[in-house]
């Protein structure tokens, strides 16, 4: 298991390095001069050149790349033109909100899609299956922002239980300082009012974000369960008198969960993309709104930082899924350990 972990972590480093270089290249290719944008149309040519020199934009590309990479290793992403603060600080301020949202979304996805997929497989070709099929299709075809607005209207405006915007009721007066996640810090501080309020705020954006993944993973779970149900070992377990509940969850689901979990990992990329829109609709103070603003301003350092952080998110999530698969399915682990 240790070798497996080590190998995966090692590959991860290379993926991140590749990602960093790729972003660097893309940022140079995109048209528009960041110094000009930062200074505005009224600035003189000398002023622009001066800022370009300060930002190192006139250095040869290899030098720029070197400066950028060596900064990266030390956790220095440069300064943001937009806020005039170090990009790292900006990101670290906004990241926990997004992290909390995405984490909660993934938990919702797992808790909803896999059980529903199992139910659809057990009751396949009955009305239950048909209803679930419609739900999953609706989830897949409804764009996140449309769902976000509909949810805001119905659940928040008419029902009034869920707040429409923000992470927490400002009247509560609590700031998350340990992990930055309101739910976790609330728990640590023993402030259950904070936890409940944070969850209320989280619920709608998370549902809007989770819907597409839920629909997809549900269908895949259903298919995988049906495929596994015809394997000999399922019949054998039943014939040895192992109860149906245990056969379904321990014997079938464990084998069937490989495909849905892999998809969940890949789904993560679109999750971060969709979070940009959903955060905007719900005024979520996360990295997305920061990202959108910096892209519009062609704030190169900040854009690179945001993309890099999204990349790390994605790669780490997939590593986590890989580890989970390694625990669930010994064949992954043994093969990787043997290296064949």
């Amino acid at each position: 298991m240790f070798t497996y972990l080590f190998k995966r972590a090692f590959t991860l480093l290379f993926v991140l390095l590749g990602l960093a270089v790729l972003i660097f290249v893309i940022a140079r290719i995109v048209p528009g001069d960041p110094a000009r944008i930062a200074l505005g149309p009224l600035a003189t040519a000398e002023q622009v050149t001066k800022l370009q020199n300060e930002m190192g934009l006139n250095d040869p590309y290899p030098v720029q790349l070197w400066t950028y990479l060596s900064g990266l290793v030390q956790g220095d992403l440069g300064k943001s033109l937009l806020t005039s603060r170090p990009v790292m600080d900006d990101i670290m301020g906004a990241l926990p909100a997004t992290f909390e949202l995405v984490l909660f979304t993934v938990v919702l996805q797992i808790l909803i899609s896999i059980p529903l997929g199992v139910i659809a497989a057990i009751y396949r070709n009955t009305w239950i299956d048909s209803v679930l099929r419609v739900i999953s299709l609706l989830g897949v075809v409804t764009p996140g922002f449309v769902l976000a607005i509909i949810l805001q209207l119905i659940a928040a405006h008419y029902l009034g239980f869920f707040p429409v915007t923000g992470r927490i009721d400002p009247g509560i007066g609590f700031s998350a300082e340990i992990t930055g996640l309101l739910t976790i810090d609330g728990l640590i501080a023993g402030r259950f009012d904070v936890v409940i309020d944070a969850l209320r705020h989280l619920f709608l954006p998370a549902i809007a974000l989770a819907a597409a993944g839920i629909g997809q993973v549900m269908r895949i779970t259903r298919t995988a369960m049906i495929e596994v149900s015809s394997r000999d070992f399922v019949e054998a377990s039943r014939a040895y008198g192992i109860p149906e509940r245990v056969v379904t969850f321990r014997y079938m689901l464990r084998v069937a969960s490989v495909a849905p979990l892999t998809i969940l990992g890949l789904e993560f990329a679109s999750l971060i993309g969709n979070a940009f829109i959903v955060e905007f609709v719900f005024s979520w103070p996360g990295i997305a709104s920061y990202g959108v603003r910096t892209i519009l301003q062609k704030d190169l350092n900040a854009v690179i930082g945001v993309v890099l952080v999204s990349g790390v998110f994605f790669v780490v999530a997939n590593l986590a899924i890989d580890l989970l698969l390694g625990i669930l399915d010994p064949r992954h682990r043994i093969r990787a350990g043997r290296g064949s």
Binding site: A236, A239, Y240, G241
Partner: protein, 566 residues
Amino acid sequence: MSRLLDIRDLCIGFDAYGQHRRVLHNVDLHVNEGERVSLIGQSGSGKTVTMRTIIGTLPMPPGKVEQGSIHYNGQSLLDLNKQDRNRLKGTGISIVLQDPMLSFNPVLTIGRQMDDVIRYGDMRLGISRARTERRAHMIETLKKVQLTDGNRVLDSYPMMLSGGMRQRVLIGMALLNKPRLLIADEPGTALDVTTQDEILALLNRLVAEEGLSLLLITHNLGVVREMADRVYVMERGHIVETGTRDEIFDAPKHAYTRQLMAAVPPLYGAGVKTTRHEGTHPIINVNAVTKTFETRSGWLNRVTGNFRAVSNVSLTVQQGDIFGIAGESGSGKTTLAKIIMGLTKPSLGAVQIDGRLLDGFAGTQDFRKLIQIVYQNPGSSLNPRRTVGDQLAVPLKFTGFDKTATKRRISELLDLVELPQNYAAMYPHELSGGQKQRVAIARALSVNPKILVLDEPTSALDVLVQSTVIDLLHDLRREFDLTYVFISHDLSLMRNFCNRVAVMLRGEVVETGPVAEIFDTPQHPYTRALLSAIPVISPEEDARKPKVSKEERAAVLATSTELEDT
């Protein structure tokens, strides 16, 4: 003697796609206390439905018991409530399924799976045992199936064990809750013949020692002869004949039973057909061929060893030969066939086909017109989404046939393999296994090759179908002067079909020669071990099988009780 299992007048039907189909017709079958009973029949005869109804895993609906009764130990199984019925699973009646690879959950350790079986069995009986007690019971049960290193087996995942070991563990699983009736579905038939032999001996011993009753479901008559006191013959859902083993084997009454017996290729005796052919010019020349595969391991995937799949093999196949390559799984016979087909390059040595070296020749159009292959499983070697006609057209397209010529050729090919013309428009799933294999043969013949490599072409088929396919292959060979390379683990079939054989063991050819010579006077202990392990259907054949001593056997074969080092 009391009847432990008593099935009377059982009728079972299925509702599918709005249609009703009866699959079991008035089945009467019983198993006495301590008796070994066999139920034989071909695929689709209703054996498996019978088994699943007895253990209670037949899905209902779509299945439905229309009439009749099943009694186990005096209780009517079909009238029991669900709880009482479940109580018998594993504890009263248990099963050993056919495929030891597929019968385990691949992601749980053996120990975990055995523990579940014990725990839930105990739970239903209202007892509870400590974890250590259960583990001790598992180890003791594994000893019964001759697996002495219980702790290591329990901590292993199924993939880490050999086929034979898995089959042993599977039998152990069935015995954990001390059932009185064991139902075995084709035990050992997915394994090599020498391993199967061990498994059958083990089952026989366990039945005697543990006082079990056995219901054995199989299509292999040789296995039945070694394993059964009494036999039922099933054909299309009907029991057509029943009697003691000797009655059935010595004097089969029903025409179907006689047909089955006649279709089994005999290993020795008067019924053996010997294919005689003395070729004059060699068509395949394999010269000192070795194929090594690298094994890799560690963090950086370094090459850490070599595995010799084929080791210094030299063979000559004459024009017109039916050349058999015999061997068990892992013997290298398939790798050798791939080398001959030009699909794998040998590491050392050279192959000549029809006088030309394979280098630079393999993969050319001329080469493809010379040699073709028929695979083992026509179910997976045919494309399920293309009609028979389309599949036959593919090789023609690549060898320069135009539209009208292709059409004519397809119709010729269907004639050749004795299929009606309208089959060209059918999809593979509309065909039976034998018909599919005919299509596969037609496809291989479409470009008029001189050589056909037959990779276990009949092992997925029932014996009756097998004999018709073999007859067809004989006819085709005569008509087109074909040469066959026949790869198989079925030595009885090889004896009757081939004129020359080579026996392979761990990548080496240990013995080669004319078929009668190899079978009548086998020199190598491995050949003798193979031959002596084949279950045959008459005492005469049994008497003529070669004898092999324990020491000789141990020298050439690993037993399935040892853990491999993986």
